[in-house]
Structure formats: structure tokens, C-alpha cells
Amino acid sequence: MTVRIAAVGDIHVGLDSRGLLSPGLADIGSCADALMLAGDLTRVGEPAEAEVLMGELAEVRVPVIAVLGNHDLHSDQAERVVEILRSGGVQVLEGDTTVLDVGGTTVGAAGVTGFGGGFAGTSASEFGEPEMKAFVRRSIDSAHCLETALTDLDTDLRVALLHYSPVADTLGREPLEIHAFLGSYLLAEAVDRAGADLVLHGHAHRGCERGLTPGGVKVRNVAQPVIGAPFRVFELETATCRRPVAPVERQ
């Protein structure tokens, strides 16, 4: 059984976006079974922007699953943004899961925004100033939520939906100096511990599309500036379902 997941991130919908996205999304049901939005749905996280987004999604006839990105948190109105999205039928995930039934095949999505911190060997540590500890703690907590959510899924296929990147592979032309603000290896480690068939993320506009976690799970950066299209479609076969190869000792 093939399941078709459409995905895009970083659409940055503002009041000036009316009518720009809907033509590219209207016919999505002909090529995908679900649409996943990898954060930065709005320009600065204002409720009015979320209303515009719902207008752009009005003709989408497949389930829509989303996580928020850093832009969606900027105006400190995330709760209201989530309320608007949910009232329009979008499943917004933050440390939780949703399950779709696609022709008898179950597809689970576990979603978190994620956070920065960097990648193995050059990552930040929970050490020193309270502000640094809080920064790294947010990454640790986010990765823990992701691992728990993925582990809780008992479905034929599992997708991890993030905004921040779990690997440096998909950061492409992003300057090394800002890698620590673009993602965290802790997210990849969470995926590898729990197992998944696919990881989707955005955030890195100058990144590239394809990468792998150290454990071999496929990672795709679907930030709109990277994919250069309204969305990408990924076809997953139930036979490829990936579970952890070997247990990893918790540090």
C-alpha cells in the first residue's frame, strides 16, 4: 500500500498573501492523501494571518497536519493562532500525535516545533548562565516530547513533523555560524531511538532537500524556498516501515 504525503514549510502567510497559495493547493487531493505543514505558517504569528492561511486552505480536501515555527511564536499569540487553525480543521501538533487511515493503512504523525542547539561535536550544552541552560533545556525537552510521541504511535507508517532541522545534512548553503540556531542533533537522536519512516522539517531556507539521520531515517527539508514549489509529495510504502534497528542506551 502506498501512502502519499504532501509537505511544505515556511509559507510565511501574511495579510499580503491572500490568493497566492490557494491555486497551488486546490488540487492537492489528486496527488496526496494528506498535507503536512512544517512550521512558519505565518509571517509573525498574528491571528489575522492565521485567518488568511485558513482562507488559502479552504479548497484543500485532504487532512492537514501542522506544527508551528518560530515566526508563529513571535507575537506571543500562538494559542489564538492554534485555535483558529484547529477550528478550521487543521491538526496542530506540539508533542502529540495524530493518526490517519489511508485506505486501511494507518499513518501516524508526531509533531514538535523543535529548537536549536546545534549538531554533534559543535552543539551547545546545558552549562553556565541560566539563559544558556534554558536555551539547551528547550531543545532537550522538545526532543524528549518527540521521542515519546513517536514511541506512542502504533501505526503502519510514522512521520516526524518538525520545524527545526534534526540534521546538518539538509542545511545546504546555510552558514556554519548559524547551524546552532537551525536545529539540534537531539531531534535526530529522538527519531533514531523511537524509529520513523520519514522526518519532515523546514526553517533552513538556504538548505537542501535530502538528508539522513545517523540511524538512517530519511530527512526532507520542505521549506518552500528550498523546494521551489507549492509542496513536495512523498510516497511511502508500508513495507518500508522503519523501526529502531537496535536499542540505544540512554545517557
Binding site: 497566492l20 519512516d197 538556504r206 514549489a229 513536495r232
Partner: protein, 83 residues
């Protein structure tokens, strides 16, 4: 001695992030002689124009080179990736 151009580039990055006309962090800024080059992909034509306007305000004597583009959201028949 630190080149003051670096500080001006940093201020431009801050302005592009916080100016309500733009709110964009991913614009690449390069200064070459008297030219300021902006590169990146933004969601709307208005935001590209605003990014250029903000740059002209902070670099009034420079030639601002527009290498920005608007995200392509037109319907496309791209092939799915089979995983």
C-alpha cells in the same frame, strides 16, 4: 580596526528581521564596493520591494542590487519522491 561596514550589514539584518514591512531573517546581504547585494526568496512581491526599500534607507549612497525572488507557489506537476 573593524570595518564599520560589518556593523551596517548587521544593522540591515536586524532591520529586515524587525521591520514590519519585511519580517524576514533569511535574506543574504553582501557588500561589494559601493554595491549592496540582496539575495533570497521571499513569500510575496511586496516583501521583496520592502526589503530593497529598507536597504536603501540604511545604505542611501550605495547601489542596491536586487537578487531576490518570490516563492514559486504556482500549481506544479512535480514528480513524487518514492521513499
Amino acid at each position: 580596526m573593524t570595518d564599520p561596514t560589518e556593523y551596517r550589514v548587521a544593522r540591515l539584518h536586524e532591520a529586515l528581521t524587525h521591520d514590519p514591512r519585511v519580517h524576514e531573517q533569511s535574506v543574504e546581504v553582501r557588500v561589494e564596493g559601493d554595491r549592496v547585494i540582496l539575495r533570497g526568496e521571499l513569500a510575496t512581491p511586496g516583501r521583496c520591494e520592502a526589503a530593497l526599500a529598507v536597504t536603501r534607507e540604511l545604505f542611501p549612497d550605495a547601489t542596491v542590487v536586487d537578487d531576490l525572488q518570490v516563492s514559486d507557489t504556482r500549481p506544479s506537476g512535480g514528480d513524487p519522491e518514492r521513499l
